[in-house]
């Protein structure tokens, strides 16, 4: 039993199978080492848990509903449930992690918080918890993403955060992450880096997955109430770095009867040269401190990805997901920009819920999977689509 449980857990050096680790310059070592040594202890402390659970309940608004999507179920011939992370405070699952990490940062005595953001959801979630705790907040965001996610930039500013444009490379999430890491190198004592996804050096992938695991913990309880069993047949989530998927999969990883479906952004199509489907196009490599699958040239230069959705526009994937892909535990699918836009429109008009562009990718694959009538499908509705209205209006 124990052996089985450990199959998909991180080992003591931060590896999931072949992937993970902490490939960091010496300048980051003291901070990363401190996290490695303390994160489990702090997260396991009852007083920490009490604060964390309290904020999840009264500030974030958890548990989020598990909604039976009747019309969508009829359309696809299965029972489809939506895990409503879009109803979290700030509009996406990202805040589960930032609440956890800000409490951790407080414990570690850090005064200054930095973060990277793609779609801006993690930036908003970080700015929010910094405002809540009265801590300085600096968010790095690709210049290109600042343009395409203007509402979230405004929200971060309203919350008192400083938004710093990343102007290097592709000017998207990868480059914002580079800049945040460089900031951390330059500010090694007072600063905590709140990484927004299950990427980065160990312990970040495991730490973020644990903070997000509340998603699958609630799904299990809610499914018992609704179906009598905690186990769905499918859990579907979109994957950029992969934090909402990690959270939605977490408590099902060892239950092999549950099919875990991760949906990547195919951009203009997997073979188009304008894609972000890392498992299809990537090879093992090292980026942002961990070994994982990585989109790169034959010379090992990181490729600039493309997705219409800023949150999925990332050339890598968390090491847990690389392991799920390689081991076959996860089923990796993809949706193009066009398919995601269409799915966003469909779900808006079928269920009255406007999803984030990222989330729309997860809905898109409903058309590609053959379901049995008895199937119980949970889709992680990771975020709401307000921030994407400009893009949606152009598509209409």
């Amino acid at each position: 039993m124990t052996v089985q449980q450990n199959n998909f857990s991180v080992d003591t050096h931060g590896y999931y199978g072949d992937f993970g680790g902490a490939f960091i310059p010496e300048m980051l070592y003291p901070n990363v080492k401190q996290l490695q040594e303390q994160y489990l202890q702090i997260m396991g402390d009852p007083i920490f848990q009490e604060s964390f659970q309290h904020l999840l309940k009264d500030y974030v608004g958890r548990p989020t509903p598990l909604f039976f999507a009747e019309r969508l179920s009829q359309k696809h011939g299965a029972s489809i449930y939506l895990k409503r992370e879009d109803l979290c405070h700030t509009g996406a699952h990202k805040i589960n992690n930032t609440i956890g990490q800000i409490l951790l940062a407080e414990r570690l005595g850090k005064k200054r918080i930095i973060a990277e953001t793609g779609a801006g959801q993690h930036g908003v979630a970080t700015a929010t918890v910094c405002a809540l705790k009265g801590l300085e907040c600096i968010v790095y965001m690709g210049e290109k993403d600042i343009e395409r996610q203007a509402p979230n930039v405004a929200r971060m500013k309203m919350l008192g955060a400083k938004v710093v444009p990343a102007v290097s490379g592709s000017k998207t999430l990868k480059d914002a992450t580079n800049e945040a890491i460089r900031d951390w190198i330059n500010n090694p004592v007072d600063t905590h880096y709140i990484i927004g996804s299950v990427v980065g050096p160990h312990p970040y992938p495991d730490m973020v997955a644990r903070f997000q695991s509340v998603i699958s913990e609630e799904i299990k309880k809610q499914l018992i109430e609704k179906t009598g069993s905690p186990y769905p047949t499918h859990v579907i989530a979109c994957v950029g770095g992969g934090s909402n998927a990690a959270g939605a999969f977490y408590h099902f990883l060892d239950d092999l009867s549950v099919k875990l479906v991760a949906v990547e952004a195919a951009g203009c199509g997997i073979t188009s040269g304008m894609s972000a489907a890392t498992t299809q196009l990537g090879k093992p490599g090292i980026l942002h401190g961990s070994k994982s699958l990585l989109m790169q040239t034959n010379d090992g230069q990181v490729v600039e990805p493309h997705s219409i959705s800023a949150g999925l526009d990332y050339p890598g994937i968390g090491p847990l997901h690389a392991h799920l892909f390689k081991s076959g535990r996860g089923t990796f699918m993809s949706a193009t920009d066009e398919e995601a836009l269409q799915a966003a429109l469909d779900i808006s008009r079928t269920e009255g819920i406007i999803p984030a562009l990222e989330t729309a990718h997860a809905f898109s694959v409903l058309n590609d999977i053959h379901f049995e009538k008895t199937d119980v499908v949970v889709i992680c509705l990771s975020g709401r689509g307000d921030k994407d209205l400009d893009t949606y209006m152009k598509y209409l």
Binding site: H13, E26, R182, D299, V302
Partner: protein, 256 residues
């Protein structure tokens, strides 16, 4: 004897290591850069292998990496350019870069090729001690390549000693917690450099990050065996129409 060891046997003070980016400013400018560094007083040459995501580097070296990649530089091209380098360059040569391009080239291939063209050592800032010890160390040793580690003002004494035990060639003491090309003042770190000196480590110590001119070079050399200049030299090459002359002027200013 490895050229780095030989150098430190003969010279224990004011050793000057200069960093350049392969393929910068032009794809084929490296041989000229190397020979002008040799002619004008550098003691060690550190060649940066450009990478799309150089995390430990500040804006100047990032930019030189981007230009070099656009020029078409890669590890295979670099080794091709270094093929006959030992007919003209006798200074120790170190390759500096990040893990990912090397993994794609193949670490074994990399070590073989580096040794074959006469490279003396490597600096890979994102290969930490645990991974080095666990997996990679024998390959570097087998090919006679020195593996140079970084320490910072935040590195604890016990860890410095462990790093010193694994490190060879010299220890790269990062002057302040920062990316390359910073403007933090070296003098502020004298306590840290003194501490390093008093530890009486096995390896010689070169100080790097933020060394840009005569003043910072001399200040760094007070407590160490020498220093490393990177961003400032890259800046001197930016827009240069005469590499020989720019290098000469730059090094004359540092060494005057």
């Amino acid at each position: 004897m490895n050229r780095i060891d030989l150098l430190f046997k003969q010279k224990k003070q004011s050793v000057l290591n200069v960093y350049c980016t392969a393929g910068y400013p032009q794809l084929n400018s490296m041989v000229e850069v190397l020979s002008s560094l040799q002619e004008n007083g550098a003691d060690i040459i550190e060649i940066g292998m450009p990478y799309s995501d150089p995390l430990a580097d500040g804006p100047v070296i990032q930019q030189s990496n981007m230009v070099a990649l656009e020029n078409g530089m890669s590890i295979p091209v670099l080794f091709e350019q270094l093929k006959n380098i030992r007919s003209t360059i006798h200074l120790p040569i170190i390759l500096m870069g990040y893990m990912n391009p090397i993994l794609q080239f193949g670490l074994k291939n990399f070590c073989e090729a580096a040794a074959a063209v006469g490279v003396d050592g490597v600096i890979l800032p994102d290969l930490p001690m645990f991974e080095f010890e666990n997996e990679y160390q024998p390959l570097f040793n087998k090919h006679g390549l020195k593996f140079i580690f970084l320490v910072t003002p935040e590195t604890e004494e016990e860890r410095i000693r462990k790093i010193d035990g694994l490190c060879s060639g010299f220890l790269y003491a990062v002057s302040s917690s920062s990316t390359t090309g910073n403007n933090k003042v070296i003098a502020d770190q004298s306590a840290y450099f003194k501490r390093l000196k008093e530890m009486q480590l096995n390896n010689p110590i070169l100080v790097g990050f933020g060394i840009k001119d005569k003043g910072t070079f001399q200040s760094a050399c007070q407590y160490s065996n020498g220093a490393i200049i990177g961003s400032a030299y890259i800046k001197a090459l930016e827009g240069s129409t005469n590499i020989q002359l720019s290098t000469k002027e730059f090094l004359n200013n540092v060494l005057a």
